[in-house]
Symmetry: C2
C-alpha cells in the first residue's frame, strides 16, 4: 500500500499516515543537537531494554493525567512503534492454534502480528458504539480453547473510526475480569479527539491488572522516530515482555527516545503542536463528510467519527475490491473493508483516511470516488 | 548485565559496549539538522519496511567493496539492530523443536533469539581457528531432524574473539552447499581488524544464494541508532523476512536511517572515525594482553584476537561463575563462559571485553581479576 500511495498523482485515503506538513522538522533537528550537547554519548550507547528513564517517566505522567489513573514509570516499556508492542504480546501469549478475541472488523496490523504466531480468531459483534457486551459474553461462554486475550481499539477505531460507548466500557471490563481474560487496549488515536467527552480508558476501569495499554508517539509527534509504549501493570507479564523484547531487538533506539523526550518536554510547544494536529484533522474530516454528502449517490453510507484518522463507508451491493480497481484507474485509493474482517465475509465496506490529504485533495479524491461508485453501479 | 555495569565504580569487561568516547556526538547532532533541512518530513514519516533507498544503496556499496562480491541494494533489508535480524531469521525458519547448528561456544544473543522459537541446538567443535569442518560434516550426517541453518560469527567471534581460518571458510561453505544448509553469517566486528589479512566472507565464497549476511552500524558508528542490515540473496527468503518485519515493527526508524546515512556519506570523516576505533581497540587489546601476562598466575590461558572487542580466557579447574562472585566484590566483572555453551558443560571460561574500558581501567581491572583468581585457588 505504501508503495502505491507514494506515487505523487494518486490521492490516497488508503494509508494510515499522519499529515507530514505538521511534523515539527526544525524542532526535531534542534532537539537532536540539544540531546547531543546534554547527554552526549549516553544517547548513542546501548541502553536498558525497558527504555530510557526519562521517556518512561514522561509516559507515566502523561498517561496518569490523560487516563485518570496513576501509572508508575516502572510499568512502562518503550517499544519500537506500537506494532512491536503487538508483536511482543503475541510472542509471549500465543501458541499455534490459540484464540484471540477481536472486534469485527479489527485492525489489520494486529491481525498480521498475531498471525505470525498462528493464532485463530473469535470475533465479537460491533455496532456504531463498538463491541456489543452481550456478544462478548456469548463468545467467552462458548470459547474452546478459551482465548488468551481480547484485543480492542476503543477510541476512533482502526478501521471504522468508531468509539466504544462509556457504559459498554464498564460492562466489557467487568465481563473480562469475571472470565479472567486479559485485555489489550490499543489507543493510538486517543489524544486526537475533535469533539465530545473524553471517555474512561479500559485501563482505568479495571480493578485487577488485566489491561495492557498500548500508546504511541507516532500520531502526536512522528512515526519515523518509532517511539511507542506499553503500560503493563502485571509484574510477571511485564518481565516476560521485556525479556521477549531483549531477544527481539535489545532496545528501542536511544537517540530516538532522547529526541522524542526532549521535544515533548517543551510542554507549551508540544501541546500547541498536538492541538494543531487535532484542529487540522477535524477540518479534514469535516471536508470529507461534506464532500461525501455532496457527491455520493444513494446506497452509500458513512459514519462521523469524533476523532482519529479514519471513517468507514459502505456501498450497498458493491464489492469494494472491485471498486478499488475502478478507483485506482481514477488515481484514488482506499482500503477495501474485507481485509479487516477475519472471516473475510463483509464485502461492501471501505476505510477512508482523512488525516493525510489536504482539504483540496480530499474534495477531489472523494469526487473521483463518487464517480467510480456511480460507474460500478451501471 | 547492563544494569550492573552502569554502576560507576565497577570496571566491566562484561558487556559488549563500544567505547562511548569515540561516538561522533557533535557530528550526529549536525547530521540530524542537515537531514531535517534536506529531507524534512520524509525523514519523520512512515517508510517502506525494507529501509530507505539511500541506506540500502550505501550498505550494498560498502559490502561490495569490503567483501569482494557484488551486492544489489534490492538484497538489503535494514533492521532495528542486528539482534532484530536474528529474531526475524528465527521467526521465518524455526518451528518448535527445530535444530540450529551453532559454534560451540556461540553468541548468547543469537541463542536468546532462537530460544524464543523453541529451537534446539546441534553444536560443532571449534578450536582457535573456528569451526572444525570435519565436525560440521559429522553433525550434518547424523542430524535428525535436519537443521534449518548454521549460525556462525566468522570474524573475531563473540564470545571467543576467534577468527575462522581461510581454508576452513571454503570447506564450510562447500559442506553447507552439499547438504543444502543455509548459513547465517553474522559479522558485527568484521570491520574492526587490527592486524593480519582480511579473509573472504562466507557470502563471497558461496556459489548458491545460501548465505544470509548480517552486518551492523553499532560497532562502526553507534548502537543507539539501531541501524543494522541483512543481505539476503534468495528472493523468496527475502520476501518472507520483509513480511515478518512488517508484522514485527513495520520498519526501522526513518530518522535514524537518514541520520546514519548522512554521517556515513561524509566518506573521509567516516573512514577516519572507523580507523580511530580500530586503533583504540587495538591498543586496549594490547594493554589487556600485557596486563594478563604481567599479573595472572599459572593455570590461566587466553588468546590474542586479531580484531573485534573480546578475548577468551580460561582458568584451569575454576568455575568462573564462582569466580565472578569474588570479582563482583572486588568491583570487576566479566561474563562467565558457561552461558555461551548451549550444553552448559564448560565451566572454566570467561569472555573479556576490551573495547569499553580505558587503558588505565583495563590495567586496574585485570589486576583485580588476577587477585580474585589467586584468591579462588586458595
Amino acid at each position: 500500500m505504501l508503495k502505491v500511495t507514494q506515487q505523487p498523482d494518486v490521492i490516497s485515503f488508503g494509508g494510515g499516515l499522519p499529515a507530514p506538513e505538521l511534523f515539527p522538522t526544525r524542532e526535531i533537528g534542534q532537539a537532536s543537537v540539544e540531546v547531543m550537547e546534554e547527554y552526549g554519548a549516553a544517547a548513542l550507547q546501548y541502553g536498558v531494554t525497558e527504555g530510557i528513564p526519562e521517556m518512561r517517566t514522561w509516559v507515566a505522567e502523561r498517561l496518569s493525567t490523560r487516563l485518570h489513573k496513576l501509572f508508575d514509570p516502572a510499568e512502562i516499556l518503550i517499544v519500537n512503534g506500537s506494532q512491536q508492542g503487538l508483536d511482543l504480546i503475541g510472542k509471549i501469549f500465543l501458541d499455534p492454534g490459540d484464540h484471540v478475541v477481536l472486534e469485527n472488523p479489527s485492525y489489520l496490523g494486529a491481525i498480521q502480528a498475531f498471525d505470525a504466531y498462528q493464532a485463530r480468531y473469535l470475533t465479537v459483534e460491533t455496532d456504531e458504539d463498538g463491541i456489543v457486551p452481550a456478544s462478548l459474553e456469548r463468545v467467552l461462554e462458548h470459547a474452546d480453547p478459551f482465548p488468551k486475550f481480547l484485543y480492542s481499539v476503543p477510541n476512533f477505531q482502526n478501521p471504522t473510526g468508531r468509539t466504544l460507548a462509556a457504559d459498554r466500557r464498564e460492562a466489557i471490563v467487568r465481563i473480562c475480569e469475571r472470565f479472567e481474560l486479559p485485555i489489550v487496549e490499543d489507543d493510538p488515536y486517543g489524544e486526537l479527539r475533535f469533539e465530545g467527552e473524553e471517555l474512561p480508558s479500559l485501563a482505568s476501569l479495571a480493578t485487577s491488572g488485566c489491561v495492557i495499554y498500548s500508546g504511541t508517539g507516532s500520531k502526536i509527534m512522528a512515526p519515523g522516530l518509532r517511539v511507542a509504549w506499553l503500560a503493563i501493570p502485571d509484574h510477571e507479564v511485564r518481565e516476560k515482555i521485556a525479556l521477549a523484547k531483549q531477544g527481539t531487538d535489545l532496545q528501542t533506539g536511544s537517540l530516538a527516545q532522547y529526541v522524542f523526550h526532549r521535544y515533548a518536554s517543551k510542554r507549551d510547544a508540544f501541546e500547541a503542536h498536538v492541538d494543531r494536529i487535532i484542529e487540522t484533522y477535524a477540518q479534514r474530516r469535516d471536508v470529507m463528510l461534506q464532500t461525501l454528502e455532496a457527491t455520493m449517490p444513494a446506497g452509500v453510507r458513512w459514519n462521523r467519527p469524533q476523532g482519529g484518522m479514519f471513517l468507514w463507508a459502505s456501498v450497498d451491493g458493491v464489492d469494494t475490491i472491485e471498486l478499488l480497481k475502478l478507483c485506482a484507474a481514477q488515481k484514488v485509493v482506499f482500503v477495501p473493508g474485507v481485509s479487516f474482517f477475519p472471516a473475510r465475509d463483509v464485502h461492501d465496506g471501505m476505510r477512508l483516511n482523512f488525516s493525510n490529504a489536504s482539504e483540496e485533495k480530499i474534495q477531489e479524491g472523494i469526487a473521483r470516488l463518487a464517480a467510480a461508485v456511480r460507474a460500478s453501479k451501471n
